[in-house]
C-alpha cells in the first residue's frame, strides 16, 4: 500500500490532503488533524442552517449528475412525520473511476464526518453507507473507522450502517441502491416518487456520493465563501474535484484540481502525457458513461460541469480514460458496450435487448463481417436507447457508441471495408 505519488504543484489539495498518510485513518489521527471539529460545529447549528451553508457553497453531487447538494437536502420534508434516511453511495463501479475508493482507503473519517453532518442536516436517524462489493480494502478500513467513531460516540443518536454491495454496477443508481439495501433485486425504480418523498423503506431519503460528503466538513470548517471561491471557470461549478486518470498516461492516479481546470494540463503536466512516441487520440472525461472526446476537444476542455458539456461530453464521475494513437476505438467501444450489456438489470426492453444487440453488432464489425448499414443501425438503436428508460444505463451504453461513430467513423469503415485485420472477439 501507499499512495503512488506526491501532490503535483498544480493540484488543489483539499480532499486528498491526507492521502498516503496512514495515521489519518485512525480516529485519533483524524482528530489530531482537526477532524470532527466541523461535526461538533454542525451539531450546534440548526439543520436548516447547515443546509444553507452547503447550498451557499455551490457544492454539487460528485457521483455524476452534478445536482446541487444543498438543494437536494432541502427537498426533505420540512415537517418531520416519518423517519428520514441518508444513503451514502460508495458503490463506485463506473469504469475508469476510483476516487471514492481512495477517500475510503485514506480518509474514512472524512466520509463518516460528512455522513454525520448530512444526517444532521436532513434530520436522518439512520445512514447507510453502501460500499461496492469488490472493495475489500476500503470495506475493512471503513469497518474499523466506523467502530472507532462509534466507540467515540461521534454520531450521537444517528445510527450508521455499512452495507456491502453484491457486485452489480446498477446498484450505484440511487433507486436500485435503495432496493438493494431493502434486500430486493437491485432494479432502479420509476420516478416519481422521488427519494425525498418515498425512498428507502418508503421513507424520505437523501442519497449522496462519497466525494460529495467528504467535502462537506471542509465547507463547514472553512466557510461557504472559501469553497465558492474555488472556481476557475464557471461560477456554477465550485470547489475541488478528484479526477481518476487511467489509460495511456505516464502517471495514472487520482488528481485533485479546482473546478474549471484545463483537462489538457491535467493530462500533459500532471499525468506526464501519453507514453513517449505516442500521441493523444481520445479521452473519456467522466467515466465510461459519457461521450468520447477526440484530441482537439480534449485539449480544449475545461474540467467543470459546464465546461465539459460545452465540449460535447459530461463531467460525470471524473473518471478520465485516456487513449493514445495505438488504440483501436472500435474495440474499446465494443468493450464498453459489452460491459453495459452485462450489467443491464433487464427491466426496460430498450436496455435489456439494446445493449446486447449493440454489442453483437460491434463484435461483428470487429470480426470483419460488418456492413455499411450497421453504422446507421447502431445510431438508430442508440437513439432509441436514449431517454426512453427508467434509469440512464442504456443512455450510458449509447453515449460512447454515438460519439465514437461520429468522431472515429473511419475506423469503423475500415473494418467494414476489410482494410483492417479482423479481431477475434472472445
Amino acid at each position: 500500500m501507499g499512495y503512488p505519488h506526491k501532490p503535483h504543484p498544480k493540484e488543489t489539495v483539499v480532499l486528498s490532503q491526507h492521502f498516503g498518510d496512514a495515521d489519518a485513518r485512525t480516529y485519533k489521527g483524524w482528530v489530531k488533524r482537526g477532524g470532527y471539529d466541523a461535526l461538533a460545529q454542525a451539531l450546534k447549528t440548526e439543520p436548516a442552517a447547515v443546509t444553507e451553508v452547503v447550498k451557499e457553497s455551490g457544492l454539487r453531487g460528485r457521483g455524476g449528475a452534478g445536482f446541487p447538494t444543498g438543494l437536494k437536502w432541502s427537498f426533505m420534508p420540512k415537517e418531520k412525520k416519518k423517519p428520514h434516511y441518508l444513503c451514502v453511495n460508495a458503490d463506485e463501479s463506473e469504469p475508469g473511476t476510483f476516487k471514492d475508493r481512495e477517500i475510503m482507503r485514506w480518509t474514512p473519517h472524512a466520509l463518516l464526518e460528512g455522513t454525520a453532518i448530512a444526517a444532521h442536516a436532513i434530520r436522518a436517524e439512520v445512514a447507510y453507507i453502501y460500499i461496492r462489493g469488490e472493495f475489500t480494502e476500503p470495506w475493512t478500513i471503513m469497518e474499523k473507522a466506523l467502530a472507532e467513531a462509534d466507540a467515540a460516540g461521534v454520531f450521537g443518536k444517528i445510527k450508521v450502517y455499512l452495507h456491502r454491495g453484491a457486485g452489480a454496477y446498477i446498484c450505484g443508481e440511487e433507486t436500485a441502491m435503495m432496493n438493494s439495501i431493502e434486500g430486493k433485486r437491485g432494479n432502479p425504480r420509476i420516478k416519481p416518487p422521488f427519494p425525498a418523498a418515498a425512498g428507502l423503506f418508503g421513507m424520505p431519503t437523501t442519497i449522496n456520493n462519497v466525494e460529495t460528503l467528504a467535502a462537506v466538513p471542509q465547507i463547514l470548517k472553512r466557510g461557504a465563501a472559501w469553497y465558492k471561491g474555488l472556481s476557475l471557470s464557471n461560477p456554477k461549478s465550485t470547489g475541488t474535484k478528484l479526477f481518476s486518470v487511467c489509460g495511456h498516461v505516464q502517471r495514472p492516479g487520482n488528481y485533485e484540481v479546482t473546478m474549471g481546470f484545463p483537462l489538457k494540463d491535467l493530462l500533459y503536466d500532471m499525468c506526464g502525457g501519453v507514453p513517449a512516441g505516442r500521441t493523444l487520440k481520445a479521452c473519456i472525461p467522466g467515466g465510461s458513461s459519457v461521450p468520447i472526446l477526440n484530441r482537439e476537444e480534449t485539449e480544449a476542455c475545461l474540467l467543470d460541469y459546464e465546461g465539459v458539456v460545452a465540449t460535447g461530453s459530461m463531467l460525470g464521475s471524473g473518471g478520465v480514460i485516456v487513449f493514445d494513437d495505438s488504440t483501436d476505438m472500435v474495440y474499446q467501444i465494443m468493450r464498453l458496450a459489452r460491459f453495459y450489456a452485462h450489467e443491464s438489470c433487464a427491466q426496460c426492453t430498450q436496455c435489456r435487448e439494446g445493449t446486447a444487440w449493440t454489442t453483437k453488432i460491434l463484435e461483428r464489425i470487429l470480426a470483419g463481417q460488418g456492413k455499411t448499414k450497421d453504422l446507421d443501425l447502431l445510431l438508430d438503436l442508440s437513439e432509441n436507447m436514449t431517454g426512453k428508460t427508467i434509469c440512464v444505463l442504456s443512455d450510458s451504453c449509447a453515449a460512447p457508441v454515438v460519439s465514437g461513430i461520429k468522431k472515429f467513423k473511419s475506423e469503423f469503415e475500415d473494418y467494414i471495408a476489410g482494410k483492417r485485420q479482423p479481431v477475434l472477439v472472445a
Binding site: I190, A346, T349, Q350, E353, N384, G387, K388
Partner: protein, 482 residues
C-alpha cells in the same frame, strides 16, 4: 376525492377523468388503447416494458402512459412520429429474441405481441444474422408451463405472485438479455390462484397444460358466464370449440373477482361436456322407464300433480338457476301442496386470494345456495329427505346423487342418470340443460344476482329447467308462489 375531475386531451379528444387517473386508463375513455405489456390494471405499476411511450406536451421526453398521472390541461398524443418510432423500436427489440413460432403457440390469435406488432411494428427485423436466445421449457406447476424463449419479461406473473397472491415464488433471474423468469428452487407454482399467470401473460410464455394445443384462439366462441365452482360468483368466459367447453377464463368484474379466478373454478368445466346425458323425457310405463315426447311427459306430470294433495318436497341442486328454483317452488306451493324445499352444498377448503379483499375460493362449493335460500329453500336436507318418504309428490331438481325414497310420486328433472341412481324409481324423468346450455341467474354469497348465458346447445331433447318448469306451471295454471 373521486368526484374531482381533471380535463385533458388524448389524441385530440377532450376527456374528463377523476384526479389521479393514469394516462393509459384515461386514454381508454378517449377510445385510445395505448399499446402496453407490463401494465395491467390488476397489478402494481412496473413501468418496465416501455411500450406505452406517448408524447405529453411540455414534457422534455416521451412519457410512459402507465406511470404518468393525468394533470389539468394535459395534452397527450399517442400517434406522433416520435412516439410511434419509439414504440416500433421496442417491438423490434422484443422480437429479436422472440421465436416466431406463432403457428404452434397457444397464444396466437390472442397475443398482445402479435397484435401490436401487426398494428405498429416494423415489416421486417434488422436482427437477422444472430441466433436467438434459447432456454428450455420449464414445468412451473400443476397447470403452468414456462416457455422462456417467448418471454418478454413484462413481470406481470412475478408481480401477481408477489403482490396479489402474496406467495412470491417467481422472480426475474439473471441480468441483461440473459434474464428469464425463475422459480424458487424448492417451490412449485401451485398456489390455488396460480393459473391467473397464464391469463396475465401477454404472450405465449406461460401456458396452461390443460389447454395446451387444444384449440386455436380464433376457433373459440366466447360466452359470458358465472363460475359454478363456489359461492363467490366469479365472472367467467366459457370458451367453446365446436360446442365443447375447452377453457374457462376470468371476465373482469371489479366488484366480485377483479381480473382473476381460482384454479378450482378454472378446471371446473369438464362435467359440462359429459356425454352420458339424459336426452329424452322418460315416463314409467308398465313398470319401466320409456322415452317419450315432451307433450306426453308434461301430461303425465300434470296428471300426477292434479291427482295428489298434501305434502310435497323439492330436493334441489344449489347449482340450479334462480329462475328454475323459483318456478319449482311455484309449481308445488302454488299448486296447493304443503311445500318443503331443501338443498345440500358440498363443502371444501376456503382459499383466499390475499391481495384482493373479499375474494376467495369459498368453502361452499355451489353457485346459487344464496338464491335458493332467498327463495325459501332450507339447508336442512336430511329433514327434507326424511319428509320425502311420506310425501305425495317429490320433485328432484338436478341432484343426481340424491338418496331419495318415497311412497309418493317422484319427478326428476336432471342432466344425468347413473345406473344405480335412486331417481331411477321416478315416475317421470325430464332432461334439462346444464349451466353452459342455458341462460339464467345465480345469486352469489353477497346477494349479487348475476346473469349467465348459453354457450352451447343442449343434447337431444333436453331443455333448460326453467323452461320445463315454466311449461308445467302454465299447463297447471298455478297461482303466484306464496
Amino acid at each position: 376525492m373521486a368526484d374531482e375531475l381533471v380535463n385533458l386531451t388524448v389524441d385530440g379528444v377532450p376527456i374528463s377523468v377523476p384526479k389521479g387517473t393514469l394516462v393509459i386508463e384515461a386514454a381508454k375513455q378517449a377510445g385510445v388503447l395505448v399499446p402496453h405489456y407490463c401494465y395491467h390494471p390488476g397489478l402494481p405499476v412496473a413501468g418496465v416494458c416501455r411500450m406505452c411511450l406517448v408524447e405529453v406536451e411540455k414534457a422534455p421526453k416521451l412519457q410512459i402512459a402507465c406511470a404518468t398521472t393525468v394533470a389539468e390541461g394535459m395534452v397527450v398524443n399517442t400517434q406522433t412520429t416520435q412516439a410511434k418510432d419509439a414504440r416500433q423500436s421496442v417491438l423490434e427489440l422484443l422480437l429479436i429474441n422472440h421465436p416466431l413460432d406463432c403457428p404452434i403457440c397457444d397464444q396466437a390469435g390472442e397475443c398482445e405481441l402479435q397484435d401490436f406488432v401487426f398494428q405498429e411494428g416494423r415489416s421486417g427485423t434488422r436482427y437477422a444474422e444472430y441466433a436467438k436466445r434459447f432456454n428450455p421449457v420449464e414445468d412451473f406447476g400443476p397447470d403452468v408451463l414456462y416457455v422462456p424463449n417467448r418471454c418478454i419479461l413484462c413481470t406481470r406473473c412475478v408481480r401477481f405472485m408477489e403482490d396479489v397472491a402474496q406467495e412470491p415464488v417467481l422472480n426475474v433471474s439473471e441480468r441483461g438479455d440473459r434474464a428469464f423468469i425463475g422459480i424458487h428452487p424448492a417451490a412449485r407454482l401451485d398456489h390455488p390462484w396460480a393459473g391467473n399467470v397464464v391469463d396475465l401473460c401477454p404472450v405465449g410464455s406461460l401456458l396452461s397444460k390443460d389447454f395446451l394445443h387444444k384449440a386455436r384462439a380464433w376457433e373459440l366462441d366466447k360466452t359470458a358466464s358465472i363460475c359454478t365452482g363456489c359461492s363467490q360468483g366469479c365472472n367467467i368466459t366459457l370458451d367453446t370449440r365446436d360446442d365443447v367447453v375447452v377453457r374457462v377464463r376470468p371476465r373482469p368484474n371489479l366488484e366480485v373477482n377483479r381480473y382473476f379466478i381460482c384454479d378450482h373454478g378454472r378446471m371446473h368445466y369438464r362435467w359440462m361436456n359429459r356425454g352420458d346425458r339424459i336426452e329424452a323425457p322418460l315416463i314409467r310405463k308398465d313398470g319401466a322407464l320409456q322415452a317419450t315426447d315432451w307433450d306426453e311427459a308434461f301430461a303425465r306430470v300434470s296428471s300426477i300433480l292434479r291427482g295428489a294433495s298434501g305434502k310435497a318436497v323439492a330436493l334441489v341442486s344449489p347449482g340450479a338457476s334462480t329462475e328454475a328454483l323459483a318456478l319449482a317452488k311455484r309449481l308445488l306451493s302454488g299448486g296447493g301442496f304443503d311445500w318443503t324445499g331443501a338443498f345440500q352444498v358440498v363443502m371444501g377448503e376456503e382459499a383466499p386470494l390475499a391481495g384482493v379483499p373479499n375474494l376467495a375460493l369459498r368453502a361452499e362449493r355451489a353457485p346459487n345456495a344464496k338464491g335458493a335460500e332467498q327463495l325459501g329453500y332450507t339447508r336442512d336436507y336430511a329433514a327434507a329427505v326424511a319428509a320425502a318418504q311420506s310425501a305425495a309428490v317429490v320433485l328432484v331438481l338436478d341432484d343426481p346423487d340424491c338418496a331419495v325414497q318415497t311412497s309418493g310420486a317422484l319427478i326428476y328433472l336432471g342432466t344425468v342418470l347413473g345406473p344405480d341412481a335412486p331417481c331411477r324409481t321416478a315416475e317421470v324423468i325430464l332432461p334439462i340443460a346444464n349451466v353452459a346450455e342455458e341462460e339464467g341467474t345465480f345469486v352469489n354469497r353477497d346477494g349479487r344476482e348475476q346473469r349467465y348465458f348459453q354457450a352451447k346447445p343442449t343434447p337431444g331433447m333436453a331443455q333448460p329447467a326453467a323452461w320445463v318448469l315454466g311449461e308445467l306451471v302454465a299447463a297447471l295454471g298455478v297461482a303466484e308462489a306464496v
